[in-house]
């Protein structure tokens, strides 16, 4: 699904990623842990193709294609989804309108038929229910006045609706109380499938109690310094990141 070789990337002229190697197969969930400033978010932005995140060396292959030759929206249509740490507010645009615009834009890009209002409504209600996203929320402007939990649930709803091949969850646990965390994690777990890969980026082990990864990587100063099973996360929780060259966790 995803192969990253010797990836170097710069932001504002400063090298943040200094040679990342990563292989993720369909059906796997990989956690990337690391201290602040280690390059976790940079990696997610590079995958999504954000402007200003410049790849200086190395290669990425996603489903056999080179994402570097694709625009942000093309990568999205090809199946890259980034769940934002801080989802953006879009005033005046209802969540429903936003979801429909996004889904139909992706379908159109893939040469599929766009969904009409009736079919879309049915689909979105079906996906919203398990995430406890109410009709009232769907009618409100996207993320405007949403609580922290509502924002993250709306992110997972988007993910569920768009059915991406690769989900990148950037610090999805930040700002969530334990109940909200459980709801979101259940939503994410429901999306685990043999066709889908996930990258869960997190600072703390807590989230990984609920979304149990197959592989855990430790990222420090732009490099993956250790890779192991889910028990590695527990180990980190005890020893902290100091052992991996980080100044402080």
């Amino acid at each position: 699904m995803l192969e990253i070789r010797n990836l170097h990337a710069k932001v504002d002229g400063k090298e943040i990623l200094k040679g990342i190697d990563l292989d993720i197969r369909a059906g796997e969930v990989h956690a990337i842990m690391g201290p602040n400033g280690s390059g976790k978010s940079t990696l997610s932005y590079v995958l999504a193709g954000r402007e200003g995140y410049e790849v200086t060396e190395g290669t990425i292959r996603f489903k056999g294609r080179d994402p570097m030759e694709m625009g942000v929206d093309e990568r999205a249509a090809a199946g890259v989804f980034l769940a934002f740490q801080y989802p953006l507010e879009i005033p005046g645009v209802t969540t429903m309108t936003f979801l429909k615009t996004a889904l139909n834009a992706q379908r159109k890009a893939r040469g599929e038929e766009e969904l009409d209002a009736v079919r879309f409504l049915k689909l979105v209600r079906e996906k919203a229910k398990p995430l406890n996203v109410t009709d009232d929320m769907l009618k409100r402007a996207l993320n405007v006045g949403y609580s922290g939990g509502e924002k993250k649930r709306a992110e997972v709803l988007q993910m569920s609706l768009l059915e991406p091949a690769l989900c990148v969850l950037d610090e999805t646990d930040s700002g969530l109380d334990i109940d909200a965390l459980k709801t979101v994690a259940e939503g994410v777990n429901a999306l685990r499938s043999p066709e889908r890969a996930m990258i869960v980026i997190t600072h703390y082990q807590r989230l990984l109690d609920y979304i149990v990864p197959d592989v855990v990587h430790v990222l420090s100063k732009g490099r993956i310094v250790k890779t192991g099973g889910k028990e590695l996360a527990l180990e980190l929780e005890k020893s902290g990141y100091a052992a991996y060259g980080a100044d402080a966790a």
Binding site: A48, V72, D73, V93, A102, A105
Partner: protein, 482 residues
């Protein structure tokens, strides 16, 4: 006023060239430039009664003494008013046989607007075949209006058929002396719409210039007059969303609305005149005076405008709230891109007691454009218990455009409650990235965000118009990012 008219008439009597010009009457175009003879020519062409000719001449003489307003935040080279034609018989559009002969760029725009094929043909001047009989549509529509006594016709026809109404109301809201461009319009206006809604009648359909334009091309100096008698209601839609490839540079229209007791007029505009090219060459100067008079008690006038075109827009649709308990509303979306300059807003003049007004203005600037909201809320001494709410929001796209808000508030009555809110925001890179990460293309993302920003105003438009307006918002901002 009477004394002025007398003087004007006396001057008219001694005018030596009064008849000298009429030999030329068969020509289709008035000679270049603007003189009294031009005014007489236009009036004669339209077979107007003497009072209207005198009315025009008075305006013309007044105009000679006036200077162009310079207070607006727009700049353009001086206009040579003598280097223009003020009357040309409606050009017979070349009838094309099929859409293949139409400018492909025009078709591309129609396509994006989602205008049905038959309508595209009508707009582009292609002879419409039996699939959609435009004549029968227009006829059915006229019959339906006639049943309830609604008059809806070109201004020149109203002058002939309903002179008493025209004489009574023309210039009663925007006097001939009002401002430079309105005065010019009074002297040389050549077309426009006339609407009369009888007492107690609720106009059974949205009146749209679309139907009328098909009958006859409107001129560059339109004069529109809408009268809503006691207890009547009308919703009027102006403009079509297709680009008007008008070679004329100056567009100086006047619109007058009169609402009597308990009457309501809703006036919606979607303006998409040619904005000029990216360098700011060409384009329409849209210098328009629009004013509504809530003359009767409990009357209501509501302006809704979506302004996306024109090189320069200078336009302040206003309400005179004369009748007690009357209400004025102004909902505006003004979009500027490229090198467009917009100076637009409204005036709410509160004269009557318990009068209320609401102003919602959304300005969007992109490219190297300049977008100014200029508004006046004025409360007169005798106007008790006035309420006004004003909200002015500006949205910037890119870093080479500008937005300005210039609100004026004058109040001479301490019981007035006036509220003013203003915001300025920018489409952030974060928002764009977020939308695009969901698979939405850049231009569609901008259109989505801008439509969200304009939502309060778009909701005021009649349903069928709102959909087109939303698409137009997207089209007019193409190329504004990236």
């Amino acid at each position: 006023m009477a004394a002025v008219r007398e003087t004007v008439e006396t001057v008219g009597e001694v005018e030596k060239y009064k008849y000298g010009f009429f030999t030329d009457i068969e020509s289709e175009k008035a000679p270049l430039g603007l003189t009294e003879d031009t005014v007489r020519f236009i009036s004669a062409k339209k077979n107007e009664p003497d009072w209207l000719l005198e009315w025009r001449l008075a305006a013309f003489r007044r105009w000679l003494t006036m200077t162009e307003p310079t207070w607006a935040k727009v700049s353009y080279p001086p206009i040579d008013f003598q280097d223009a034609y003020y009357y040309a018989a409606p050009k017979q559009k070349v009838k094309l046989d099929s859409l293949d002969q139409v400018d492909p760029k025009l078709l591309e725009t129609y396509e994006k607007l989602g205008i049905p094929l038959t309508e595209q043909k009508m707009l582009a001047g292609v002879a419409v075949d039996a699939v959609f009989d435009s004549v029968s549509v227009v006829t059915t529509f006229k019959e339906k209006l006639a049943e309830v006594g609604v008059i809806f016709c070109p201004m020149s026809e109203a002058v002939q058929k309903h002179p008493e109404l025209v004489k009574k109301y023309l210039g009663s809201v925007v006097p001939t002396s009002d401002n430079f461009y309105a005065t010019l319009n009074s002297a040389v206006f050549s077309e426009g719409s006339f609407v009369y809604i009888p007492e107690g009648v609720r106009c059974p359909m949205e009146l749209s210039t679309y139907f009328r334009i098909n009958e006859k091309q409107t001129g560059q100096f339109e004069r529109t007059l809408i009268i809503a008698e006691k207890g009547s209601y009308v919703s009027y839609l102006e403009g079509c969303t297709a680009p008007q490839r008008d070679e004329n540079q100056l567009h100086a229209a006047v619109v007058e609305l009169v609402a009597l007791d308990d009457a309501e007029i809703k006036y919606s505009t979607v303006q998409n005149w040619y904005p000029g090219d990216e360098e700011g060459k060409g384009g329409v100067y849209n210098f328009v005076t629009k004013r509504g008079d809530c003359r009767g008690a409990n009357s209501k006038i509501s302006w809704t405008q979506v302004e996306t075109g024109s090189a320069i827009t200078w336009k302040y649709p206003s309400c005179i709230l004369r009748g007690d308990n009357s209400r004025g509303e102004f909902y505006s979306i003004a979009i500027s891109n490229g090198r467009q300059q917009v100076d637009s807003g409204t005036k709410m003049i509160h004269l009557g007691r318990n009068t209320t007004s609401r102003i919602i203005s959304k300005g969007i600037s992109a490219g190297k454009s300049s977008n100014t909201y200029r508004g006046l809320v004025s409360v007169h001494r005798k106007a008790e218990n006035v309420r006004n709410f004003t909200q002015c929001d500006s949205l910037l796209i890119g870093d080479k455009c500008s937005a300005h808000t210039v609100p004026y508030i004058e109040t001479k009555n301490p019981s007035a409650i006036l509220e003013h809110e203003a915001t300025t925001s920018k489409i952030s890179d974060d928002q764009l990235f977020y939308c695009m990460q969901r698979g939405i293309g850049e231009e569609e993302a901008v259109a989505l965000i801008v439509n969200g920003f304009c939502r309060d105003v778009l909701q005021q438009l009649p349903m069928e118009f709102a959909v087109e307006a939303q698409k137009l918002v997207g089209i007019s901002l193409e190329g504004s990012v990236g």
